[in-house]
Symmetry: C2
Subunit: 131 residues, 2 copies
């Protein structure tokens, strides 16, 4: 079983999902990600799925679960690079990924995290936690 690498970029972690994930791989990813958030005190996790042209309900649920785990660890998850067909499939499957933020590209995802963190730190005078 190949483990999906978790890469650290400053305050964030990056995971790129390139293949259909199996059960054990998903569990390993959850494990690796939460350990990395804990170890590096990361404030955000970016999950790139631009390589996927299909997402099934298992993958959809996995993304939701990961986002929930990351949230209780006080970090944010942004799914980036979703292809149009994947968005359509997800909604058709009834998986609108509640609680998961999305961004079109990795860079936009990083910007989103950056602005969220600024808001949470109250740099514009108020707390914002609508995620």
């Amino acid at each position: 079983m190949e483990r999906i690498p978790v890469l650290k970029i400053g305050d964030y972690l990056l995971v790129t999902i390139q293949v259909d994930i199996q059960d054990r791989q998903a569990l390993a990813l959850q494990d690796d990600l939460s350990r990395a958030v804990n170890r590096y005190k990361s404030k955000g996790v970016l999950i790139d799925i631009s390589a996927l042209d299909m997402v099934d309900s298992f993958m959809g649920r996995m993304l939701g679960t990961i986002a929930s785990i990351i949230r209780v660890m006080d970090a944010e998850t942004v799914v980036v690079g979703m292809q149009p067909a994947v968005a359509i499939t997800l909604v058709e499957l009834g998986l609108s990924l509640p609680g998961v933020s999305t961004a079109l590209t990795l860079e936009k995802g990083m910007e989103l995290l950056r602005s969220r963190l600024h808001m949470l730190r109250g740099e514009d005078g108020f707390d914002n936690e609508d995620a």
Copy 2:
């Protein structure tokens, strides 16, 4: 055939190789990477191989070829996250990756590229092009 995603992070491009690459996939990656360098005017390419615990001579040559292509396009390639066993295997195979820079982690690789670019721009008063 799954294409390996090329992610843009500022001036750099990031590729994470997670599985053993086949011939056609390697060609597609060369193609995608050189197009992306051209399109985004990228100054550096980071190739993360932390997920690989084995590198054969095909993969070794591929990394060398990609680095050469990127170099003639006036950008730099840094291979990051190489596992110790992979380093040993590469040298045993007689592939010491000439012309390919390496860094232990993605962040160190980005730092390396940043300092190279500063030097090339002559910000410390001289040009340096030993890569």
